[in-house]
Subunit: 328 residues, 2 copies
DNA sequence: TATTAGCACTCCTATTTGTCGAATGCTATC
DNA sequence: GATAGCATTCGACAAATAGGAGTGCTAATA
């Protein structure tokens, strides 16, 4: 579709703009393309007609359009080699053999946020389809106890519980034993039902203060089921981007970052590393989201990177790719 | 020091400015003070001389100075009665008897952030001087296990651990038993030392892969010791304040909010509800921090509220007071 | 036919200028 | 001591101005 010079021109415009955040003039590209500004203007007019670049006003230089970024990402961009420094930082994580996969991901996304100055997101797998492995209860005072729930995939949740009446240690133990007997192996999403219809009737029979205890555990479990597992790094980085140098936009983005539902919608379905430029993503039309799935013991999570549309696509893709490979 | 009319004048200026964020003119106070604007100007000149109010430019209306806020808070302000709505919201938390104290605090500070549109902070007690109550280990796969540590005050921390070599279940159990025997009752801050000098020599004797296991637990414990316990609500609220309508200031504040050290320095030492206006606090000279200690089973935490200097002091103090009373 | 030089044109940016209105401080008077 | 009145100051806004960066177009050139 584009000839060699046009391709080179688009490449220069995109990469220059990524670096400087300012419209690119025909003049500034003369040397690189080895021709006069007039020629470049002619070519620019063409690229603009196809919709790959835009002007900010009638006599301004050009900036890439969304379509332009897309073309660049799909057809022009080459993976960028990582610097030794970047590799070094990441190797420290991957060579630490005592780290569990999820911790390694956490740490490496933290590092990537620092390297790139973009915002990174780790969406841990939901525990919904985990199965209960163990329920543990440790008394703290006469009235307070801590309930710990562990799933087969190694997720742990705990909740401190206040008993409104004195309950005998013995009865607590009985209840826990019962729960462990009846509920273990049940998926988290079904625990409350099982608790209601199988456990409750039985403890009602032989535990005196069963209501109190039952409610306490019921609450603990429902909290667990609804807990989401999101980590964000470098949220503030986005505020530093020159294109977001107005309070309106900053407020808008910060609000979106604080919205759990929006952040949870980042979850990736497709395979590979996927790039959603501007209006292609559901977060904000001025942002680009790059994300990919990861797999931990059959559980799927998502790692993502959020930055301005003017993102160092080549660098970022290479980084994510590097992580993806090291995780296997 | 101030006569009645001067006091009333300062009160009007402070409260007006809190509401509108704009300099107050002499004219606008005529009705309230029942005298002419010229008279008010004379009084204003006096208040300005003492340093209680300021002009933003030579012919502007007046705004309270830091000293003015201080005088208002110390001598003029009266606690504001809470609205039924506010009380209702908070009662839902305090009447829930199954909530542990820390959860009740969390929830109520969340609500206060919503009510006031300021930022609230809960600094949980540090676990440093807690004593170890129990160590539990649950195997997930052959190589992965989750270690759970529980303290006497009911704090729980867990860490998933990857073993770099196969370790027999039996040996893990032995190690855990040993730790439980030797380390229980030790303050968290001393656990690593005890681990190093008391546990390590012994497991070296009768656990084959003791290095692997020892390291795993050592890491788990040090993570625990360093974990801080901070909750912030409504961080973004501060961005909405009209006085912070410039990106520079927003960036500055967001950066400070993201800095763990700065946030941890909010910890309150004094008794009662304390107000730190502008340069009186260590966060930012354009902010006011109001904070108070709370006590949970002998452990001390801090709850705080961060807003612009132009804060609804009466409302906020009453709210914090209400919480403080209900926590006892 | 592709390239380029040259020029008119557009629009952004920054600076200046002027006007209006909202305040003030001061003075003379009540 | 309180007030009316007036000159004065300054911010906010709009209009005017100048400079510069960049474009599109046309005609000449290779």
């Amino acid at each position: 579709m584009l000839n060699e010079r046009q391709t080179e021109l688009l490449k220069l415009i995109v990469e220059d703009y990524i670096k400087t955040a300012r419209p690119i003039s025909s003049n500034s590209l003369c040397k690189a393309l080895n021709c006069s500004s007039a020629t470049i203007r002619n070519e620019m007019a063409l690229l603009e007609e196809i919709g790959l670049i835009e002007k900010t006003h009638i006599s301004s230089g050009r900036i890439p359009s969304e379509k332009g970024y897309r073309y660049y990402v799909d057809n022009i961009m080459k993976p960028k080699e990582l610097t030794g420094e970047d590799v070094l930082k990441l190797q420290q994580v991957f060579q630490n053999k005592s780290l569990v996969l999820t911790d390694a991901i956490s740490k490496s996304m933290e590092i990537i946020s620092e390297i790139t100055n973009y915002t990174t997101v780790v969406l841990g797998p939901s525990s919904q389809d985990n199965r209960l492995t163990k329920v543990e209860v440790v008394p703290i005072t006469e009235r307070e106890l801590v309930a710990i729930v562990i799933t087969d995939k190694g997720h742990v949740q705990h909740k401190n519980i206040m008993l409104s009446e004195n309950v005998e240690l013995n009865e607590i133990k009985q209840t826990v034993d019962l729960i462990n007997k009846l509920v273990i192996g049940t998926p988290i999403s079904e625990v409350s039902t099982t608790l209601e219809y199988e456990v409750k009737p039985i403890i009602a029979n032989y535990v005196k203060q069963h209501e109190v205890l039952y409610n306490a555990f019921y609450n603990a479990f429902s909290d667990f089921a609804s807990a989401s597992n999101v980590q964000m790094n470098g949220r503030k980085n986005i505020l530093m981007q020159p294109e977001f140098d107005n309070t309106e936009k900053i407020r808008e983005i910060i609000n979106k970052f604080d919205d759990k539902e929006i952040i949870n919608s980042i979850k990736e379905e497709g395979n590979g590393i996927n790039i959603y430029i501007g209006s292609e993503n559901d977060i904000d039309e001025d942002l680009t989201v790059i994300k990919t799935k990861y797999n931990n013991n059959g559980e799927e999570g998502t790692i993502a990177l959020i930055g301005p549309k003017r993102m160092e696509y080549d660098h970022v893709v290479t980084l994510l790719d590097y992580i993806k490979q090291n995780l296997e």
